[in-house]
Amino acid sequence: MKILVCIKQVVCSESSLELNPNGKWIQETDSTEFRMNRFDEYALEEALLIKEANPGVTIDVVSVGPNRVKDVVKKGLSKGADNGVHILYEESGYCPPRKIAHQIAGYAGKQSYDLILTGVMAEDDMLCQVGPMTASLLSIPCAVSVIKEEIDLVNRMITVQSEMESGKVEEVILSLPALLTIQTGINQPRYPSLSNIVRANSQELIDVQASFQEESPDKVTLLSIDYPAKSSKICILEGSAEEKAEQLLTIFHNRSLLK
């Protein structure tokens, strides 16, 4: 069984960010830090758990982007993936999901994967679209926000539970090959092990050139992005320590900061 995990490299939200001069994306400098999209860590972990439970599973990780995304492919290897694929796509700045999905599907279509996993969304644009679009381009079934899955390799079926609104769960059965977008909380992503880190660093990646054939024109255009509006609202609580604590609890509760 072959699994492909799609991984996006995103800018570290903790590092200080500036917009680029045309206001269409963030300005990349030598000190801009990137990391693996946290949502994809859960997808990779799920693949690793499937591999541990089923002999004969191999995991490929793929990332689309400029050369710097090789780092997250290596990170994928250091967590235990078998092969790393880098689809070199030099366009900097914002890249609509459709273009990424086109590249992944173009590659995956030739490789006969049984299962493709993505994170539920990307931390930066939060669009949740690359997964479903890739499935559509490959004409394979897709389930999103997956919180549990069970594979039946004999019948080539996969039963999945997806998170719905207000805590409801939907259960569906898909035939393989299929694509799942994995919800956070389904597992606890592991740290890279030392032996895998060392292997990752010496292992050659599979380098693939982006293919622009059959790429349909963009239907979505990014107009501009902006800094969040500065707000200087402060609120000073009054009363005794207990009263203040009560008020604070109410505020946290109203803003859904506490469950």
Binding site: K74, S78, Y191, P192, L194, S195, I197, V198, N201, S202
Partner: protein
């Protein structure tokens, strides 16, 4: 600066992995463990073992990573960033104090049965040399191991044993003959689950509070003869070699911890206004800080030099004794000096500097006191 001369991209990836682990799995719990006077070593070591952090240098055959001394240094530097001395010490006991002798002199059987689980984090190890009547003078130990058929019978006691209340096995030095001289001692692997073993006391200490330290008692404890490490009678010499790994581990933990201590202090000095100005503007304090930074850099360079020598297969006892001596002296001066700059606030337990101060004191005492290092060096110099 300049670290790329010594460390490759691969080392840096390993460094980052260990740093992430320390920041997420250790540092958030340190206050709690310091308070409790003990850390859940089985849990911590299991996590570390799964990631391969406990057997960097050891053969892959026993679950190690088969990596070189630079990687070991990366580990020791990164655990130096743990926000206390107790946990790095517990880890270093496992990797650099209780297992090197098994690795270097132990039988296949001992490596499989004890070193492998220690590398995996399934067993906690301790090193048991010091006794109530013998610390600096190791040859004065009185614990005896008497051969009796397929067994040795162990009698005596050990004290100040780090990880002592939790250890699954001890690497222990005992007397196997009454003859004078250095060939009357042997090293053993002592499984603590066998009858006749007792933790007589968990000791209460000035510092290193998250590390459990114990007094141990052996009453006619029967241990299998195959638990002898290497050759009977060679234990003293083997232990002196094992000490080299222990003393080496002190060095990176010292210069990293010391650098962190300076950073804490500078942060405080920038914010503390005295006589109308931030304290950091006082020349006398700044000069003291850079003096220590200079010494920290020297210690780091000596450590890197030692790693190079080790990689070239050279004897490093002289350099390590100097490094251990330097580490103890530096911390003795610096920890008090930094705390002084905090004034009364430094005296408060809530400040990290007070913990550094308490923990630092051990470096010039444990693993061979500074005076013992000086004695070794004097001898090597032929004085």
């Amino acid at each position: 600066m300049g670290s790329e001369i010594y460390f490759t991209k691969e080392h840096e990836m390993v460094r980052k992995a260990i740093r992430d682990f320390v920041n997420k799995e250790i540092n958030p719990y340190v206050d709690e463990w310091e308070e409790k006077g003990i850390a859940p070593l089985h849990e911590i070591f299991k996590k570390m073992g799964d990631l391969g952090f406990l057997g960097m240098r050891y053969d892959e055959k026993y679950g190690g990573e088969g990596l070189d001394y630079w990687y070991e240094l990366v580990l020791l530097e990164e655990i130096g960033h743990i926000r206390c001395g107790g946990i790095p010490m517990a880890i270093a006991v496992q990797t650099n104090m209780a297992t090197p002798a098994i690795n270097e002199f132990g039988s296949e059987y001992l490596k499989e049965k004890y070193m492998k689980p220690a590398i995996k984090g399934d067993m906690v190890a301790a090193i048991a040399v010091t006794e109530p009547d013998a610390g600096s003078d190791v040859a004065a130990i009185r614990t005896t191991a008497t051969k009796n058929g397929n067994h040795y019978i162990l009698n005596g006691s050990k004290t100040f044993i780090t990880n002592g209340t939790q250890a699954d096995f001890l690497t222990l030095l005992a007397r196997t003959s009454d003859n004078p001289g250095y060939h009357s001692f042997s090293l053993f692997v002592v499984p603590t689950k066998l009858p006749g073993f007792q933790v007589s006391k968990k000791l209460d200490k000035l510092g290193m509070r998250s590390s459990d330290t114990a007094e141990l008692y052996f009453d006619n404890m029967k241990i299998p003869a195959e638990n002898l490490i290497g050759i009977e009678g060679e234990g003293f010499i083997q232990q002196m070699q094992q000490f080299q790994h222990e003393r080496f581990a002190c060095m990176p933990m010292t210069y990293i911890g010391a650098k962190d201590m300076i950073e804490e202090t500078v942060k405080y000095l920038r914010g503390r206004i005295v006589f109308g100005k931030p304290l950091i503007t006082k020349q006398v304090l700044r000069h003291r800080l850079v003096k220590w930074l200079t010494e920290i850099e020297c210690l780091k360079q000596l450590t890197y030099h030692i790693v190079r020598m080790k990689m070239a297969g050279q004897d490093v006892s002289r350099e390590i004794s100097m490094g251990k001596l330097f580490s103890g002296n530096l911390l003795d001066e610096m920890a008090g000096g930094c705390l002084q700059m905090f004034g009364g606030m430094g005296f408060m337990n809530e400040m990290l500097i007070s913990r550094y101060y308490r923990d630092s004191k051990l470096i010039s005492i444990g693993g061979g006191a500074s005076e013992v290092m000086s004695d070794i060096l004097s001898k090597l110099e032929g004085f």
